[in-house]
Symmetry: C3
Subunit: 664 residues, 3 copies
């Protein structure tokens, strides 16, 4: 299959006579895919029951005339005014009350009216357009999962039903929720309310995690219903949705069960100067989405900025796209082709400049589509072999910081992934917490607080059998009701790590007292700051890797290692603060345990590899705007420009090396 | 007509036997006007239909006995408890829900009950008191326009009616609102809701601007109704309202159609040290209100602090009043005479000290009233000839930052006015965007984003015919639905300015990357920081005036000039950041195009002129607390102190020179 | 009576078979009291009318078997789900709307359903358990007074009834509320609403203070009802409640009328480094609670952290407890024994570590219980003679900052108490504003803005008769409706202090203008920064103690003193900024008027004394983690360790000296 490079496009915004000019310009850049229709419900059904899919069919066919295939969206991320007028509760509410009509999303997925009409429009759309040969794939909904919570009466009912199903009887719930505290002991599921506007003390972590699960459940239910319809009426097309990222209100691993691929919306900012590390975030999301394809090792970037800002050269757009490809993307869809003249997203940049001319990124994209047409088939369907994995868990994310995007859990997870990716310069997988990890040499798994005894045994076995496991003291301290084990941290894994926490202190308090930033120091003198909580460790078999430097904890263990069976268990007893903390930790592990890099790369270059039919392709994408030197300890063939390379090599600013490793 | 200097006074707060002492003390200071009654609805009508205007009549007549005329207020800024009890919806609501009774304002101007009773109390008041000869003028309402928005069911209905009237059919609205985005396509006006609590994505700029217009419309409707009643029952009195300032939720230019004058409430802080520039803000508001008198070149300062704080000398109170006069004020009403002992505004300073003695400002005010009695007639009705104008647009203010007072548009506008006023040392008018600008040599018009093709032609003609026009790249980029033209910035005026924007970057991003503050540099080395957005320009006929200094844009054009017809079009491609940015820009224009100052003044002195019967009076008000030297390149006669002055002259701290230009 | 040292414990959380292990461990530490049951409503009455107090009886008796007495709580700080299901309005609401069920508190104390069932559960509990001989005392509710305000319909009704009762007729209310301002003039009590969500201008201070009083009244009504029931069915036990601190929404002085003792929840942070001054806050709360025992000079610390964080040595737990004792505590109850595994307070530290082992504080506590068993009887019931008092007033607290915990009034009050306590090194009482002050040599009474003429006379007489009174210029400026007297500050007391305020300025404005921090300077050069408002004084008989240093006020009086009758009146005309300001002021007073310290103590040591049967015991608690030298100008006997001490002596970090003054 060819690489799909294209853009979003909204035919419903523009006079039909202008469509062809747009598609022709896309064609001129070599684009071969367009994403359409994900907000078009009102266009299809302007009044209840009056369906008209002809205009969209014409748009699809016109695109095809210019060599452009269509990815079509289902429309349930929006809701037409007439439906809201029919039943106001098709939208939910927030702490301020019910949502008014306007904007988008906020539909209440517990509302029967909404579900009925959402099903009907999806069915009608699939029937009307599903057999169009120019449709290659479907996007379900759009960034499903907003608004992270929904507070209305329908949700109350839905939540209670879900709890009835989950717990069977109210006493099981009471036990799971520790509801005897504060007399919150329920007699009946009908007494339960969605967690909004508590008087004092807030909601228990147990209620919150269940509400998050219910919220996720409603979205996965809607989407799997849509997937079923699409599979029936539009077979042989791929189905995905565009997650905004791993840190989300819907469990994307569950989504993998009814979707073919995951897409994600890459709004990671354009790098510049030393801020290239933001692209490590993109790397993490790529690896996460690659995991969601259930072994197919592919994913889409469903939205990506198509525009270099005034302080960037346009090549940055290509660099970001090559980074996608180096991690397994089979498509990149820019957002967007042509900016709207009205609406809340007026200011989004687009491939077309505001005067409909093609912007500075045009030639860069053309160059890229030419290269892809020539070379992409070499790696289409390639695998991305990884010896290292970072473990992500939605439920543990939700169990942490509550309902904040980029909350504590996810920031730490990104820092951990990013730090290891950068320091190790090799492929890093993202795994779910119950994936088979035995194929990895090294696993980093921060903040897996909720863990069953079975989980703990699996991680212990992983180390026993030779794995290197890196965790922090928060891990394994709670069951899956988010209740705390009556054990010292790291809870179920104290024996594995050979250390336990006997006291805690907030780093900010320590900093205030000592006037110094709390930090850890390795034997070689490397020192890194820590952030929020510092734990005092009692060693029970572990060796010290790094020590604290400040306050009464100066000189006490901060990071430890224990040989356990054939492997090693590395424990850090603080928060990582930032990506630099994890780079230092990864550096220690690399030096101590000999994790192999794909090549030596200076800061700025992100290195990956793909393997197909026994050939290994190396990608080195420079996310900096200045040249960076790398060192290739073998010989490669430059796929795009031809020629052999070995040893020291300079990757230009925002440049990419796509090379075949010489097997000689 | 004499100059009216006086104070607010609330007879309803005090025992009637204490009134005379208050009026006598006012008289002793030479005050000749009192503003009363703008919150007195409950005093007039303590219970529904029980009217009693006798106490106010007695207060008016008692004041007159002491030589004090009355400006009387209509009372619709408040609402009596009994009316709220009758219909809770006489008050509106905010995002938290309906307003409770308490405080003031918040009346729903879409509520029929409120409108009916508001009309009745105004009518009864006008009938009862309108023919009192001691009333010289009427203030309608009080700072009409709070709370900037109003969210309740009555507003929903009113908004829909207004939209029906404006658009005629729903498809016109759909087009204007670009509602096909996100399926917000309406079938019926009844589906529309006031823009509060959207789910995700927020409200489109198109809905928002129309809601702002509707909100403004309701206030102008109420006030014009009141004006009509007052004109009928109290003819030959001037009518005004007290706007809080140009940046407001009601279109004051429309208010000019039913009002005689504009007043404003001058709560600009007392200057001290180098903070004298706050008085440039007062200068701007003065010029704005002068414009609103529709050619009469007069305005009121309807509220002004009457009190020098502990770090100021009392002369500052006089300096502020002379500044009013120098811009065209015919009255200044202090707020307030005597502080209340209770209520939410307990802490407001007053002319009377808390123990009813006259404070330190007393002798200063007496000196001023003496001077005014002697000399004001010389300039009463004088014109304020200006060669420079700054263009203000309520709709463009609303189209920018949403509903924030002192938001981006207005801060920029003030900085532009203030910078030009300070650097040019001459009169600067404030004009509406469709005023005839042909009489001005120089026009500065920042952020006129919404502009019709007719507007663009008018500005182009202005330059063609010899004017100097200063705009930024945001100008002329949107139509009056707040939809964006499919053109590069500066949209309709690219041809005029001979430059267009090809890319943008946030200054904060640039600063973060480069570690340097983004700034522009003129040919003479003058450098000024910029704030939020930096635009990369492509020149198409313009010459460079100043360049950027940082990042990839270093050395590229930041400010340009193009000779066009007989005039010059100056374009700046960034935000002005602060008043200093505009002072530099004005300095360049002054030097290049020869704009003439009234005199040379050091920082701190604000210079204006008034012309009457062929005589030109010069005002130089020192807003600093230390002496400032000015240079008068001609001979003037000191009006207050007598004697001739020429050349170097020192204006004392908070001092004023009021001088007649010698015509020899 | 023995000293009670123990912990909270929640038998309802744990399997009954685990209780005995817990009680046995308590016994092993020498603990002799347990607090139970304050949130157990649902345990007692899981379904309406189904009462079961047997499990709690068994828990009480099991504790007793291990030598542990019980303090039992009434349960009205929580509400069972079935009651909320019966009538949603048993919970109130906030600005977001009605509370959902979850968390704790938020009960509407104006709701008849709640009051009926709250009375019934208390009655049933008292009947069932009241005669248990192992119960030594009762805690009513838990931290009664949250949520500071309550906004719902029941409250509206209750508030109106309370106002009817207070004012008799609506005109009295109108006068008290100054309601003629802004037409808020009421015809009928039914027009009044609880102060939430005002449109503009906010609520008048008069409405606010009455609402605060009503809110306090509802809590005192509930608690006095509970006290009456307990006294009847469980006589001869002490009754208290656990206030969170002096700064609270309920008038604790009124609570003293139906309670035996006051308890407070000491969550003052553990001191470390130079932050030992936080313990002065605990000292203040101790003295406040000692006052609330109505002459019995005892109080409880009802909750106290039982845990030394990782940067502290465990001795800090003992130091805090000794500090309690040195001020008159007869009990300290740690919070808590064993952390819950679920619920909103999962993360609270406890005496048991998470693995149920006893933590590092165990041996420290054991050592303390041993010492207390041996020596506490010497001081049980001792008095705490004070020559110095700091005056606290709930109504003045409420009249200041509104509804913010640790608002301006209370921060100032703490700074004043703390500064005087630290500088004077002697006992300092907290008094209510109408206590008999004649026994004190020195009284500090900041921000008593509301003061009647009778109050003013009493303070004047206090000075006349030889007292030293320290107040600021805000004092005596308002009546008890919170209306301002028409007098210059310090209002009713200008004559006493011989100075008055003629102008004000915000310190931040001054700082901005002068670039210097506003401060005051004493004759000896001591200089201290001031915070918010600076007042310009006119002297009328007073002498200057300290002057301002900045702006136009440099060199003008900031602090003054006047000899008046036999005493001295010290006035400061600014805010104290911090505890250092008051330490300097206390230092001036100590040096000038000869206030005697108990001993000389370096920073860190908090000194108190207790007297019993003619013997004076000195306590010197070191709140620092490093040794501090003190100087004892007499001979003492070390009670705990034996031996005589005199002159220079070093108190170890977190150490305590408990010594009997030698009377020779």
């Amino acid at each position: 299959m060819e690489f799909y490079l294209g853009s979003s496009y909204y035919p419903e915004w523009w006079p039909e006579e202008e469509w062809e000019e747009d598609f022709a310009k896309m064609e001129s850049l070599g684009l071969n895919v367009v994403r359409m229709g994900e907000f078009a419900w009102s266009w299809y059904e302007p009044r209840e029951g009056e369906f008209n899919f002809e205009p969209m069919r014409r748009a699809i066919d016109l695109a095809a005339k210019h060599g452009i295939k269509t990815v079509l969206g289902t429309t349930t991320a929006v809701c037409p005014p007439w439906l809201y007028q029919k039943d106001r509760h098709v939208k939910g509410g927030n702490i301020h009350g019910d949502y008014s009509f306007g904007g988008r999303k906020g539909q209440c997925l517990s509302n029967e009216t909404f579900l009925k009409y959402a099903r009907r429009i999806t069915l009608e759309q699939a029937k009307a357009l599903g057999d169009n040969p120019n449709i290659i794939g479907w996007q379900l909904d759009n960034e499903p999962g907003f608004p992270f919570n929904d507070f209305d009466g329908c949700c109350n009912e839905g939540f209670r039903d879900w709890l009835r199903e989950k717990y069977g009887n109210i006493d099981a719930l009471n036990k799971a929720w520790f509801s005897m505290m504060w007399s919150n002991y329920y007699n009946d599921f009908d007494q339960i309310e969605i967690p909004v506007n508590a008087a004092e003390g807030g909601w228990s972590p147990q209620v919150q995690i269940d509400y998050r699960r219910y919220f996720s459940f409603t979205f996965n239910s809607l989407l799997s219903m849509e997937a079923e319809i699409i599979r029936k009426y539009s077979p042989d097309r791929f189905i995905y949705t565009n997650w905004p990222g791993a840190n989300w209100s819907v469990d994307c691993f569950e989504g993998a069960e009814y979707l073919d691929y995951a897409g994600w919306d890459n709004y990671v900012g354009q790098p510049a100067g030393d801020a290239y590390r933001v692209q490590l975030r993109a790397s993490m999301e790529h690896s996460f989405d690659r995991r969601l394809s259930s072994g197919k090792e592919r994913f889409l970037v469903a939205e990506q900025l198509a525009f270099a800002d005034a302080n960037n050269v346009p090549e940055v757009v290509a660099a970001q796209t090559w980074l996608n490809i180096s991690h397994g993307a089979f498509a990149t869809i820019f957002f967007e082709w042509r900016s709207p003249t009205g609406g809340a997203e007026e200011a989004y940049p687009s491939l077309l400049m505001r005067d409909k001319s093609i912007g500075e990124a045009g030639p860069v994209i053309k160059k890229m589509t030419d290269a892809l047409k020539k070379h992409y088939s070499k790696i289409d369907g390639a695998s991305t072999p990884s010896k290292v994995a970072a473990v992500y868990s939605h439920e543990n994310s939700w169990a942490h910081a509550g309902w904040v995007v980029d909350g504590f859990y996810d920031e730490e997870f990104f820092n951990a992934y990013g730090g290891f990716k950068n320091a190790l310069a090799c492929n890093v997988d993202v795994a779910s917490m119950r994936d088979d990890l035995s194929k990895y040499k090294l696993v980093i798994a921060p903040n897996l607080r909720m863990m069953t005894r079975e989980d703990a045994k699996a991680y212990t076995d992983y180390v026993k059998n030779g794995g290197i496991l890196v965790m922090n003291t928060e891990c394994a301290t709670r069951d899956f009701n988010n209740q705390i084990y009556e054990l010292l941290e790291p809870g179920l894994l104290s024996e594995l790590f050979g250390a336990e926490v006997i006291s805690k202190i907030g780093a900010s308090k320590l900093n205030a007292e000592t006037g110094a930033k709390a930090s850890v120091r390795y034997a070689d003198g490397t020192e890194r700051q820590v952030r929020s909580t510092i734990n005092k460790l009692r060693l029970k078999g572990a060796d010290v890797v790094a020590e604290y430097t400040t306050g009464r904890l100066a000189g006490t263990p901060a990071i430890t290692v224990r040989k356990y069976g054939e492997g090693y268990a590395v424990l850090y007893s603080t928060d990582g603060n930032d990506v630099y903390f994890y780079e230092a930790l990864a550096g220690y592990i690399k030096n101590t345990f000999g994790i192999e890099s794909l090549l030596e790369a200076g800061d700025g270059v992100i290195v990956s590899s793909r393997v197909k039919e026994g050939k290994e392709y190396i990608f080195a994408v420079n996310a900096k705007d200045s040249p960076v030197e790398i060192n290739i300890p073998y010989t490669v063939e430059d796929v795009i420009n031809g020629g052999e390379i070995s040893g020291r090599y300079t990757v230009e600013g925002y440049g990419v090396l796509f090379a075949l490793k010489n097997n000689r």
